[in-house]
């Protein structure tokens, strides 16, 4: 018997991972949640059949979303994390003793419960004393915040599905309003490679660029995501994405993906991606 998890990356491209066990499956008010045990990637989480994270390659994604902004501004004290039910972002952020408060807004409590049970390596910091978890729509939560956060990290699903409100102009505008003067927002933007993904990425980036005076995209290699080439957005009111704190290395944080050399390199994008981002974007 062979058991495979397959996800269509396009209508004509499919990625498959051989499965040892289906550990968990349930349908919440928002989505279908599954957790599998695999031979190659360890345990992995899917929502509505779409890969969210595997134990083997999640470090790249979570490290890049946390350490890039943290290395730009060492004075970050209060962080808002949107989505991120698997706990990976919180795990990385909790490593900074300088962070005083983390608010996490996740729409689906069942994702958090399932990850705590089946993905303990990723969900390890979800009990951190500095963390408050709010189970509600991210768009609603942020509407009420003003000049409150030094950093907003948006770890969302795709622009189609429960996370679609997190790719809108109103959301980015609300984020801008919720940030302090030195505030930074980072989010996942998807892949620039396949046609439909590229179009959605470009649209989302265009909206981000319309709201934040300083904006840039950076990349990472994440093998289980479509095409493996993943982009993130960086938006800030004042601070430059390339202005890396020289003392970051002295913090002594052991990382598997991020380092300050890579930080600058991550913003150096392939020419076709630069062209894609610089084309006129419809508002």
């Amino acid at each position: 018997m062979e058991l495979w998890f397959s996800e269509k990356h396009t209508e004509f491209v499919k990625m498959s991972i051989k499965i040892d066990k289906h550990l968990h499956g349930e349908t919440s008010d928002f989505q279908r949640i599954d957790i599998f045990e695999s031979y190659e990637f360890g345990r992995f989480l899917t929502l509505d059949g779409v890969m969210m994270m595997t134990e083997k390659d999640e470090f790249a994604y979570h490290e890049m979303l946390v350490h890039v902004p943290m290395a730009v501004n060492s004075a970050i004290r209060k962080v808002l994390i949107i989505g991120a039910g698997d706990g990976g972002i919180v795990r990385e952020a909790a490593r900074y003793a300088t962070i005083e408060k983390m608010d996490m807004v996740e729409i689906d409590p069942q994702v958090v419960d399932a990850c705590k049970r089946f993905l303990p390596k990723t969900a390890s910091a979800l009990d951190d004393a500095r963390l408050s978890i709010y189970y509600q729509d991210g768009l609603k939560f942020i509407r009420k915040a003003k000049n409150e956060y030094d950093l907003i990290i948006v770890d969302s699903t795709d622009p189609f599905g429960p996370g679609e409100g997190l790719f809108t102009k109103e959301f980015y505008g609300n984020c801008y309003n919720a940030l302090t003067d030195d505030g930074i927002m980072v989010n996942q933007l998807g892949s620039p490679y396949y046609k439909n993904d590229a179009a959605a990425m470009k649209r989302a980036y265009g909206k981000l660029a319309g709201v934040f005076p300083i904006h840039a995209a950076f990349q990472a290699h994440i093998p289980t995501y479509p095409s493996g080439h993943w982009l993130f957005g960086f938006g800030s009111k004042k601070l430059s994405h390339l202005d890396v704190n020289p003392n970051w290395d002295n913090l002594g944080l052991a990382t598997k993906y991020y380092n300050t050399q890579l930080h600058r390199g991550a913003f150096a994008l392939p020419t076709y991606v630069n062209n894609l981002l610089n084309e006129e974007v419809a508002p």
Partner: protein, 482 residues
């Protein structure tokens, strides 16, 4: 309402039976179940094309129903608590026109508020009825027309005891209802027929905690836009009759202008949607009401906006309010409702129903998802943050008192000449001038042009309302009676 009966959908059932018979079509439509028009079939889907058929024995005939359409109409009447229901396929405009033409002959008086739909003016031209307008009054703070006050109606009835009909909105576009039960009582005492435009009140017959429906209040006729809150296809509608009107006469009136090739897509959509509302209406409109209430609270927390609700009820001209309507006043944001409408569409990819000078309406229905409501609220908060200002809205809400000088029908067909708008005061208009939104006439055929009307048209043009109704697309020239 008979819940067992309401589980039926006779037209849908007949069409399913027909499909299984595999009848060879040598009748119209010529696309022959889609095979003759591949591009259209690809676009609509084969299933849709296969049910676009013509009247035939097993499917009955809308102009003279004897089998499945008759049954569907009887079940619909039961659902709405009406004595008779007509399936309508030319929009609620056709239902409105049929009501007025059935109740009024040439020269008959009809009492009505000014904030009526354009189709009412069309009905006046077609029927030859004489309108007697009742000022619905404006809520000064909101800048919206209210319902009609009982005192104004009593005066109008006293002055026109010979009126054939009274026409009213239940509710208005914004969700405002007049005291319908009392109006029915007053009209009945004088033998005046009560005609109700329920284009925005389909759900009153099915939900809980909603204003009273026309049929429940004892009105004679009601035009119901099933395609608005009822969920059927655009253009499908019901015309409902109370106990008094003669359904055979009304059928004749409908048949004067109704197509003889009624679309079965529209009729089936009425059948299925009626079944859905009858069986699930309470839950559906509870949910819609909850979403609208939630959005109202969230929008009112933003600041600037005023999403009004049941607190505006005043026992008379605002006798009741439909809480499923999300009407929002924008005057304290420094923005016109129309501006918010445009920004939502152009910058936030959100299409709302309409925006006028001081208000906009976001249409909330069973098809909405909470996350879309969140998007709307967040976008509004962003619009207020980015564009909100202290500009005092310079808005003139003066009610233009219509001076009816000739029958609309006679004025429409009379010998006429074109004059410049500026020179039209004192002349009798042959044309309609309407400001859209909100789609309420500024001047109607047969009315004396006044300086106030000329000024208002100028003002409406300046603030960017689109004006329609005249032959001259720019509304610079107006046809007046010679």
């Amino acid at each position: 309402m008979d819940k067992i009966l309401q589980q039926r959908a006779p037209i849908m059932e007949a069409m399913e039976a027909l499909r299984n018979q595999r009848v060879v079509p040598f009748d119209v439509p010529g696309h022959k179940r889609g095979k003759g028009n591949p591009e259209l079939t690809e676009f609509f889907g084969a299933k849709t094309m296969s049910i676009d058929v013509n009247s035939m024995k097993p499917l009955d005939f809308l102009g003279h129903p004897v089998s499945v359409i008759k049954e569907a109409e009887e079940i619909a009447a039961d659902a709405f608590g009406a004595a008779h229901a007509f399936l309508m396929v030319s929009g609620t405009s056709a239902s409105v026109i049929a009501m007025i033409m059935a109740a009024c002959k040439k020269g008959d008086k009809i009492l009505m508020p000014r904030n009526v739909h354009k189709s009412v003016l069309s009905a006046l031209i077609l029927s030859g009825a004489l309108p007697v307008y009742i000022d619905p009054g404006l809520d000064i703070n909101l800048g919206v027309s209210m319902g009609m006050s009982i005192a104004d109606i009593a005066r109008a009835i006293d002055e026109n005891p010979d009126a054939a009909a009274i026409f009213l909105n239940n509710p208005t576009y914004y969700g405002i209802c007049s005291n319908l039960p009392e109006i029915v009582k007053m009209a009945r005492a004088k033998g005046i027929a009560v005609l109700v435009d329920e284009a925005h009140g389909t759900h009153f017959s099915f939900g809980r905690g909603l204003p009273i429906s026309a049929m429940a209040a004892g009105a004679d006729m009601s035009a119901v836009s099933m395609h608005k809150s009822g969920g059927s296809l655009t253009q499908s509608s019901f015309l409902l009759l109370g106990a008094a009107p003669n359904p055979h006469h009304v059928r004749q009136i409908i048949n004067l202008t109704q197509t003889t090739s009624a679309s079965y897509l529209l009729m089936v959509s009425l059948d299925i949607s009626r079944k859905n509302l009858a069986l699930n209406g309470v839950e559906i409109f509870d949910k819609v009401g909850q979403m609208a209430n939630y959005a109202r609270d969230e929008i009112n927390n933003i600041g600037g906006y005023y999403a009004f609700g049941k607190e505006i009820i005043n026992g008379d001209a605002i006798f009741d309010f439909d809480h499923t309507k999300l009407s929002v006043n924008t005057l304290k944001t420094g923005l016109a409702g129309r501006e918010v409408y445009d920004i939502l569409r152009d910058e936030y990819d959100i299409q709302i129903e309409f925006g006028d000078i001081g208000n906009f309406l976001a249409y909330v229905s069973v098809g909405d998802r909470m996350k879309d409501i969140e998007r709307l609220c967040s976008s509004l908060s962003e619009i207020y943050r980015r564009y909100g200002n202290d500009k005092k809205a310079d808005i003139d809400y003066e009610y233009i008192h219509p001076v009816v000088a000739a029958l609309p029908q006679e004025a429409f067909y009379a010998e006429k000449e074109a004059v410049r708008l500026e020179n039209s005061a004192g002349r009798i208009s042959s044309e309609l001038v309407m400001c859209y939104p909100p789609g309420i006439p500024i001047i109607a055929p047969g009315e004396m042009m006044t300086q106030a009307a000329v000024d208002y048209i100028r003002y409406a043009k300046e603030v960017g309302c689109s004006l329609t109704g005249t032959q001259d697309e720019d509304v610079e020239m107006l046809y007046v009676l010679k």
